[in-house]
Amino acid sequence: MNRTGKFGIAELLFVLSLLILIVIVALPVLLIFWTSFVVDGHFNLSAVVEVLTKPDTFEALKMSLLLAACVTVTCTAVGTLFAWLVTRTDMPFKETMKVLFTIPFMLPAFIGALAWKMLLSPRAGYINQFWMALFGTRTPLFNIYSFWGIVIIETMYLFPFVFIQVSGALERMDPTLEESARIAGAGLFTITRKITIPLILPAVVSGALLVCLYSLAHFGTPAILGTEVGIYTIPTKIYELIHQSAGSFTAIRAATVMSVILVLSAAVILYTQNRVVKSGRFQIIAGKSVRPTVLKLRGLRTPLFILCIVYLLVTVVMPTVTIFLVGLLKTYGLPLQLGNMTFENFYYVLFKWKLTKDAIFNSLYLSLGAALVTMVAGGIISYVLVKMKVRGKWFLEFLGMLPFSLPGTVIALGVILTWSGRFGINIYNTGWIIFVAYIARYMAFSLKSNSAALEQVHDSLVEASRASGATPWQSLRDVVIPLIRPGMIAAFFLIFLPALRELTTSVLLYGPTTRTIGVAIYTLNEDGETVYACALAGVALLLIVGGEILIKRFFEKKKRLDNGGA
């Protein structure tokens, strides 16, 4: 845009974007690789091999991959089944069900794990107790502290990744393709195999890979359900290493080597996902608004409907109710009876206890601050990426891809390496380090949302304003920003809500006064303050669900206004 070659606003924005990405994202990653591969100034692979061949590290690695693989398979099965049921069958209340199936998304998985621990711990879980009393046995129904326990809990709260992708694809799919096949005499089985499945496959795979990526980097569930029985994954192993060492270099080193594995796995997954999404087949799914034919479930209609309702009751309602009921107990272990209940715990965590009060405020201002800064920074970077023609942009594009492939654990380690005095700034153990980490962690969301909005602003609009004599700054302010504002606001909320309940990153970074809500719930559970952990989790759930509802309202109102105006 700026072809005069002098240092104008374009160059300024470019340099600014570059600086943000390098300092916030690239430097931490670079330091992780540097710490793993360079010993005393020399490239050294033996240290890496040594860490990887240590039995407990190797076990953690194997467990992480196995866990992610199993969770991916189960999520794909569950997500695809439900997506098909609510889009392509004559199931009752389909629209409502579609909304209901995204609710598990709002529930942070570690709070789910906490609830299920209380329901299904082998001897004392409420369900197991009931089971053992009912049948007079000493063998529990199910032990949640196990590999399959972790798989089931992660599946419960991660399957919406697949569900959302696949139900979207099924809805947008051109039904005439299936119809023509039927007219040509193909049976339902053939149509499904030859037409439907190939068409939705990219959506299924892309959802599955998202699940895989998330599960690989997920801390809360394996930490709550696995550690006790010796099941360690990469994130929980890193947590133990860092916690044990109070910052010793050998531990950090071992942790960085494991992070490198995480980054590489994530990169492979993302590369595959990009390939799948870009593959030509996806194009057949056009934006047609024709209603696809629905399959009549006949005799299965009611049983399948009941299955869906029971599934939601079991995965959403039961854990939520458990959290609130245990949060009301005077002390953990008392029977769930009215006489043993009190609002004291809720009052205590909200108004009296410095630790939990701190945590709520920390989470609020950290997520608010990170969301604002990341929204603006992401807007600037996306603008440069999408709209500007500047030399060296490829490098920026490469850097812009980086945040997508960085698991939360890796970011945490990276910022520890970067911001604990190495470059003259030491913010370890302060809120700032979590703040910086959040910006790096959520930059990807902001870039995605902002670039999507920017791509819809046609260049001709800016050109027209420039032709009419506006300065670059004026055209930015009066044309571009108003047009991409919805994208920026969406980015804000896409960051604010997940940051509010964040655990994986902050659990490695928190200091005495900088616990976040997630960390406070996790450490309270670890410290055996179960009733307070539940009370705080209840408060967190109210905050999150309240936030989601407010935002939905806001966007719906906006949509209606926009549609009315158009």
Binding site: T227, Y332, N426, P512
Partner: protein, 329 residues
């Protein structure tokens, strides 16, 4: 909208920068739980209105990491340190960053940890004993060996020594007293390694475990709230004192000394006793319904630990312990 955004930015920036302190005040880093340090603060401030008192409460590991970070940056916030990891205090003393102070109250202190030069002084004698669930266990255990009996099969819990300092202390004490065979026998009886030292108590209250090595104040607090738990001291008492130390070079030395004197006074020791943990002064009356032993007796029965070597051997000890107790795949 723009105005709103500007206000939000300002508010969040202010909130974040709120960590910077100014002026004269006493800052205590402690691993004591909120209710105890809160009660002590109230009593201290009442008598010393001129001193602005603030505290950070977190696990000992977190506090040490924060102090290490503060030393690195050259700006120390902490004036007084009080937590339960005695080996850390010997380490800090060796590094020369503690201010020696022998309080006039120190002569009343009875504790297995003795530090005549006054670099640190024990303030409470934390103890660990057997916590058991009274719903399932009708005859209380009386010795550590009782936990190896078949009735505790698969249901005796020990917190993870890698996560909890008190758990580490109890592992060292039991290994020293009974040898590593004790833990091997625990494993034979399918004992469980839990997580934090509080969580094993909660698991016992819930019935997931039938007994565990329980910390005194955690267990007594839960019993007070109605949990069906029992708490018994075997002959050999695991005692892990919590010393207090003044940081060298603190600008608030006078206030820090006053606080140490206060912690060792009868008044503060009474508050400590009421919180369910063992005071260091024998002239303090324990609450009537207490489950704690007499402070003087307990010190006599305590397993004597060499705290000076405990940090050097920590990694090896934890490794040995987890190798014995880590559940098989």
């Amino acid at each position: 909208m723009k105005k709103l955004l500007a206000v939000l930015v300002l508010v969040s920036l202010l909130a974040i920068s709120g960590a910077a302190w100014a002026g004269e005040k006493l800052t205590v880093y402690t691993s004591m739980k909120e209710s105890l340090i809160g009660a002590l603060k109230d009593a201290f401030v009442k008598n010393n209105a001129g001193i602005e008192f603030d505290y950070y409460s977190a696990g000992a590991g977190k506090l040490m990491a924060k102090i290490a970070a503060e030393r690195e940056s050259g700006k120390m916030t902490v004036d007084v340190l009080w937590h339960s990891e005695v080996p850390d205090f010997y380490q800090l003393k060796k590094e020369g960053i503690l201010e020696p102070y022998v309080s006039p109250e120190a002569k009343f202190v009875e504790s297995p940890v003795k530090e005549p030069e006054g670099f640190f002084t024990p303030v409470r004698n934390g103890t660990l004993a057997i916590t058991y669930n009274t719903r399932f266990i009708k005859t209380a255990p009386t010795s550590w060996q009782d936990l190896l009996k078949p009735e505790y099969k698969g249901a005796f819990g020990i917190a993870n020594p890698a996560l909890s300092g008190t758990a580490y202390g109890s592992v060292v004490a039991l290994a020293q007293q009974f040898g590593w065979e004790y833990f091997e026998n625990c494993k034979k009886n399918e004992a469980k390694m839990g997580q934090g030292s509080g969580q094993v108590v909660d698991d016992t209250a819930m019935g997931d475990l039938l007994a565990c090595i329980g910390v005194d104040y955690i267990t007594t607090d839960k019993i007070k709230k109605g949990a069906t738990l029992g708490f018994v001291y075997p002959k050999e008492v695991i005692m892990l004192p919590s010393p207090v130390a003044i940081m060298k070079g603190t600008p608030n030395l006078a206030a820090a000394k006053k606080f140490v004197d206060f912690l060792l006074s009868r008044e503060a020791q009474q508050i400590i006793a009421n919180s369910g943990t063992l005071p260091v002064r024998a002239d303090v009356e324990l609450p009537k319904d207490t489950l704690l032993p007499n402070p003087h007796d307990a010190v006599q029965r305590a397993i004597v630990l060499d705290f000076t070597t405990m940090s050097a051997t920590k990694e090896a000890t934890i490794k040995k312990f987890t190798e014995i107790l880590r559940p098989g795949k």
